[in-house]
Symmetry: C2
Subunit: 203 residues, 2 copies
């Protein structure tokens, strides 16, 4: 299950939440070339009657899932998402998956935040840290995860979102695209990738 | 006092911590051109006998303080820190301070995280949200702040940092530069900007 699901679940119960997991080492710290931190997705959610506000973000500029999707479609990334084999910044998802040099969000900042989330997740639970997690994605198990829920939050999301969007609604807030996609899927059915669908039928 | 100070204080007491504040609106959400989210510094700290691990990061790629320092020195930023008046990505701190178009870390990701930190800080405290805070930096008061301390964390920082640095120590971990600077300042005295020092003497 995607980490974001826990954020939606908390918000449905009227709670704000902050949750994260560590992962196998799949992002090089800023300055390094080998993957030594996880992309450690962080979820922050806040309840709102008109549709909750839910952030679900990996510490890499693009999650491995997003890179795989761009690579499969042969589309360039909207911004550089890592480095190619020659160490050049790249918008080619395939080249980045090959080099394993994913870019942390905000360069040194995402690199640092990823380390902190790993320290907290493993340090609070007594579970495995990224350094202990099997680097084979097929054997990435026994991760450490943190779930914090906050009760009694003021119902301020409507006012804060109104200010965030201003008169222009030129920016998207966290969770907005999920809500749009969910509404469309409920109305028109779920969009499925043809190649993936054939694989499912043939498996 | 810098927010980071609270992280060091918690770590000195053997606690891990996560603290943040909202600020006046000084960063445009990703996709927008006018500042409508704060740069909402986030502090995450973890105790370590050989020097605590302390992250202190604004949601903009560069804090206003860092931009001011680069502008004063006339040095280019190491990476794009925002947009100039013409909407072009820029490494010129002065042009960014002028346009007020600071870049959020990780583009849409920092924009979203900034919004979430504002919702949580104001929603948990019942205090002001960024939308309510005076946009004049001289009158930026009554911010909302969150301080979370975690007791009983496992002493894993040494092992995790060893993995983070590998054999190369080509990456810097959060707090490392502070510790180096502190050691140098204690040994050689505190480095002071000549122009600022003259201003102090003349004021």
């Amino acid at each position: 299950m995607r980490g974001g699901a826990y954020g939606w679940q908390a918000a449905d119960a009227g709670l704000a939440a902050m949750c994260w997991t560590n992962t196998l080492a799949n992002v090089p710290p800023w300055g390094a070339t080998a993957p030594r931190v996880g992309n450690n997705p962080l979820i922050v959610s806040f309840p709102h009657a008109n549709g909750h506000v839910v952030l679900d973000m990996a510490m890499s500029q693009f999650s491995v899932g997003a890179l795989t999707t761009y690579a499969a479609r042969g589309e360039p990334l909207p911004v550089a998402g890592g480095f190619d084999r020659d160490g050049e910044p790249s918008r080619d998802a395939r080249a980045i998956l090959e080099s394993q040099r994913l870019l942390p969000i905000g360069f040194w900042k995402g690199s640092g935040l990823s380390l902190m989330l790993d320290l907290l997740a493993a340090g609070l639970s007594g579970g495995l840290a990224t350094r202990d997690i099997n680097p084979d994605p097929e054997r990435e198990t026994a991760l450490s995860q943190t779930f914090i829920a906050f009760a009694h939050v003021e119902p301020i999301a409507g006012a804060v979102l109104a200010h965030f969007h201003g008169n222009t609604h030129d920016a998207r807030h966290p969770g907005e695209r999920v809500l749009t996609t969910r509404a469309r899927s409920l109305r028109d059915g779920v969009e499925v990738d043809e190649a993936v669908w054939r694989d499912v039928l043939n498996s």
